[in-house]
């Protein structure tokens, strides 16, 4: 076990844990926008920064990536930390003025938009948190979406922005998206859904008749797991 201090609170933690994980276990709230329990940390949003002190040196580190060490002192709300968080939120508010989630988070943290930043008018709600891309690659395992371009032009999209041949329509990207940027449309009868420019036919449950998953997704699961396709044609509730 490792002994450290977070916000003046003496804490024991296991070696190898990140500051963020230890803080959360101990009821200390550190805001994040790109962290998810099913995903490896990426350190993109910079909201989870904290100030650490080791000996005399202090520095600002990413709590979702920095692993705890013996004797570490962590301040999750120092002035330097709050300055970074404030700027990050103000920048994101200016990028995605439409996003309700960002406005709520800013409200909770007492951050007002910076009047000097002209809000973008392209109606984009994507904050490039990368959760969709990481989910598609690491959790689903199909890598149907990724990034194009760099810097300000960086966009989440399918390769060459064409209809994806590898997408299985599972919708995990839309589910994990924190700002509602990724849209998934479903027909009134639920018999098909459209995402990333492609329309997926839904499978009706053999028992209850409810449409519950895209056929392509079930085929993919069947191939991956070896479970026969017909066994997967029953929805979770009827299994």
């Amino acid at each position: 076990m490792i002994n450290l201090t977070i916000d003046n609170k003496k804490i024991e933690a296991e070696a190898g844990q990140t500051i963020l994980a230890v803080a959360r276990e101990n009821g200390i709230v550190i805001p994040t926008l790109c962290s998810h329990e099913s995903l490896e940390p990426s350190g993109a949003c910079r909201l989870c920064v904290v100030e650490i002190k080791h000996g005399k040196r202090t520095r600002v580190v990413t709590s979702c990536l920095y692993t705890v060490t013996e004797g570490l002192t962590v301040d999750t709300k120092s002035e330097r930390v709050m300055a970074v968080r404030r700027l990050v939120l103000q920048l994101l508010l200016a990028r995605c003025p439409e996003s309700v989630q960002l406005r709520e988070l800013a409200g909770e943290m007492g951050v007002a938009p910076e009047p000097r930043f002209t809000p973008d008018k392209d109606n984009v709600k994507c904050i490039l948190c990368r959760m969709c891309v990481r989910t598609c690659e690491k959790v689903v395992g199909v890598s149907a979406i990724g990034f194009s371009y760099r810097g300000m032009e960086k966009t989440v999209c399918t390769p060459f922005k064409e209809d994806s041949a590898t997408c299985i329509g599972c919708g995990a990207c839309a589910y994990v998206c924190p700002t509602g940027h990724i849209e998934m449309e479903t027909t009134a009868t639920d018999d098909s859904r459209t995402i990333w420019g492609r329309t997926f036919k839904m499978q009706a449950c053999k028992v209850c008749g409810r449409y519950f998953a895209p056929e392509d997704q079930l085929t993919y699961i069947s191939e991956k797991t070896g479970v026969p396709a017909e066994d997967l044609a029953v929805c979770v509730s009827c299994r």
Partner: protein, 618 residues
């Protein structure tokens, strides 16, 4: 094709044979065909020389060598006639025949091709007497003019690969590392981290294989030191890498080089092929039992890929995005294996340290920065080019003695060091002794060695805007402070330059800078505010003039200036009216001209062409 060299003794005798086969008294014509000189059209001059030599049946009697960059790019095309080392500059493409007939055959000096020292008006005959070279210590870079980069024989004839032989046959890996630590070789790529300690960490790190990587992703605007080393003396870099690999215990190396450097890619490829043929790369090098090989990886032109973790991502075939470096690359770098990354110039220094010893090397430079550093001296400077000086040389010596000062009699204003992430240094620091620590102390950095000189006609807000804009377009976009923050800073700088700056903008820029420095994920983001911060720090008045008085003191920011004619000085020569692209400048012969502000696009053509200094920019 060279046959395999089986041992250090065989290498030594080969070097001796090559040296003996070269008569130092035999006339030799050397032409620089570095990228700078090639841009002057020097290839045509090379062809002319070959043709003229053949015509006179002199190909056997006179050596002819094309080499990499000599550094004095301002004065290309350059021809050096040995053994006297007569130095011709700005040589015309049709001058080959005359040079052969007069200088090479008869020893006559062609007056018009000589360099004139602008300070004294004296014509300089010999290369070593040219002030630009005289005040340099061209330890690493000087070899460029002695070898044809495509000839391994040339490199061997000047003692090349001796250091490798010495290291492989007479030194233990740990002893090599100790030597590099003792020499206090610090990384030339920007960080200035002691290379020996990095080697030591990589050697001691757990995990196999271990990689060594040469960072040749030089991307700073105006910097081309590493390019010129790879183009001009690729075997030197390779020798440094092989020694490093042996010391670290690596059998696999990579050179990550920008694809925009086609000549560097070509020459290093040739050098690798030659070294493999000679058995200096591959299995059992010089019979030592040590095996090592190098692969080239061409980068796609992203500035951020010079950052180590982004470079590794790119090498692995992923997008060039950095990751947090809480675990050092020496433990987990390329493919998560222990990796030692050094830049081109750092590797090129290694053979000297091994060959001549750490004590000798540590005798050059300052207390904590040893050896020499190559700088790319560009911008408003008379002698544009690459200069190599001992650490601790003052900025004044570099700019005024070597660089020959500022053109057109204008006043020095600032020098930007360390590339886009570095800072602008004002006149009051001209006597600063340039080394890693001194530059950092005043808010700039060594970086990879870019030096951009600015004169009184450079606006510091405009300079900050330029570099910040560069960083905006080169941000990988992964983290918010760099992607969004630096862009917003750029927008504010554009506003200030456009006369739309608001009260509080400077303070906001400072506040944002502090948060970006703390908050960005990688070193590119952490250092992105430097151009803004250093210009505010040293030229705050200029920002104030733009914001409060809507005035650009340097006369650069177009929204804030007007062009007019000083009627007293104007002679009515009509030159301005001829060069003006929009017809804004006009007037009758021998009468003072005027500039119509409605038509004027503020391109500056009139000011540049006016011989009477009568164009007023306010």
């Amino acid at each position: 094709m060279m046959s395999k060299i089986e041992s250090f003794d065989e290498l030594k005798s080969l070097q001796e044979r090559l040296k003996a086969g070269r008569d130092p008294k035999k006339p030799c014509v050397t032409i620089c065909v570095g990228t700078g000189c090639l841009a002057y059209g020097t290839q045509k001059l090379v062809d002319n020389f070959r043709e003229e030599l053949a015509k006179r049946n002199l190909a056997e009697k006179i050596d002819f060598r094309t080499t990499g960059c000599h550094g004095f790019c301002e004065r290309g095309p350059m021809v050096i006639i040995s053994p006297e080392k007569i130095f011709y500059q700005r040589v015309g493409l049709a001058d080959a025949g005359e040079i052969i007939d007069k200088t090479v055959l008869k020893g006559e000096v062609i007056d018009r091709l000589l360099y004139v020292d602008p300070a004294t008006g004296v014509k300089v005959v010999h290369e070593d007497d040219v002030p630009f070279y005289k005040k340099q210590t061209r330890l690493v870079f000087g070899l460029n003019s002695k070898v044809d980069p495509e000839s391994m024989e040339d490199y061997l004839a000047i003692g090349g690969y001796s250091a490798l032989g010495k290291a492989l046959t007479g030194m233990k890996p740990e002893a090599i590392i100790q030597e590099v630590i003792k020499a206090n070789l610090r990384g030339r790529g920007g960080g200035g981290f002691p290379a020996g300690w990095k080697w030591d960490s990589t050697r001691k790190a757990k995990g196999e294989p271990k990689y060594i990587v040469c960072n040749a992703d030089e991307g700073d605007p105006g910097a081309y030191m590493d390019r010129s080393l790879l183009e001009g003396n690729p075997h030197l870099v390779l020798e440094g890498m092989i020694i490093g690999a042996y010391a670290i215990g690596s059998s696999e190396g990579y050179i990550y080089v920008r694809n925009e450097y086609p000549l560097a890619v070509k020459n290093i490829n040739t050098a690798i092929r030659q070294a493999r043929e000679a058995g200096l790369l591959g299995a059992n090098i010089l019979g030592s039992g040590f095996s090592f090989d190098v692969k080239i990886n061409r980068g796609g032109g992203a500035f951020v890929c010079g950052e180590s973790s982004a470079l590794f991502a790119s090498l692995e075939g992923r997008a060039g995005e950095p990751r947090a470096k809480y675990i050092h690359a020496t433990d987990k770098g390329l493919y998560d294996k222990p990796t030692n990354l050094n830049n081109v110039e750092t590797w090129a220094n290694v053979p000297f340290i091994i060959d001549r010893g750490a004590d000798w090397y540590a005798g050059i430079g300052t207390e904590n920065s040893k050896g020499t550093k190559i700088f790319s001296l560009v911008g408003k400077i008379n002698n544009t080019g690459l200069v190599e000086v001992p650490m601790g040389t003052t900025l004044r010596e570099i700019v005024f003695e070597i660089g020959g000062g500022i053109p057109d009699g204008l006043k020095f204003k600032a020098i930007q060091t360390g590339g886009p992430s570095g800072g602008c240094i004002p006149e009051k620091y001209l006597d600063l002794r340039v080394d890693f620590d001194e530059l950092t102390k005043i808010g700039s950095m060594m970086g990879s060695g870019g030096m951009i000189v600015m004169d009184e006609r450079n606006c510091m807000v405009d300079v900050a805007r330029y570099f910040t804009n560069f960083l905006v377009s080169e941000s990988c976009g992964k983290c918010v402070p760099c992607r969004e923050g630096v862009r917003r800073m750029r927008d504010i700088l554009v506003d200030i330059a456009d006369g739309k700056g608001r009260e509080g903008d400077v303070e906001l820029l400072e506040k944002m800078s502090a948060a970006v420095i703390d908050g960005a994920l990688c070193a590119l983001g952490n250092s992105a505010p430097n151009p803004v911060l250093s210009t505010i720090r040293h030229f705050r008045d200029e920002y104030k003039a733009h914001i409060e008085e809507k005035r650009c003191p340097a006369g650069v920011c177009k929204a804030l200036i007007t062009y007019s004619v000083d009627a007293e000085k104007c002679t009515g020569c009509m030159v301005c009216s001829k060069v003006c692209p929009t017809g804004a400048a006009s007037g009758e012969r021998k009468k003072a001209h005027t500039i119509d502000p409605a038509k004027c696009t503020k391109c500056g053509a009139c000011r540049e062409s006016c011989k009477f200094d009568s164009i007023i920019v306010k």
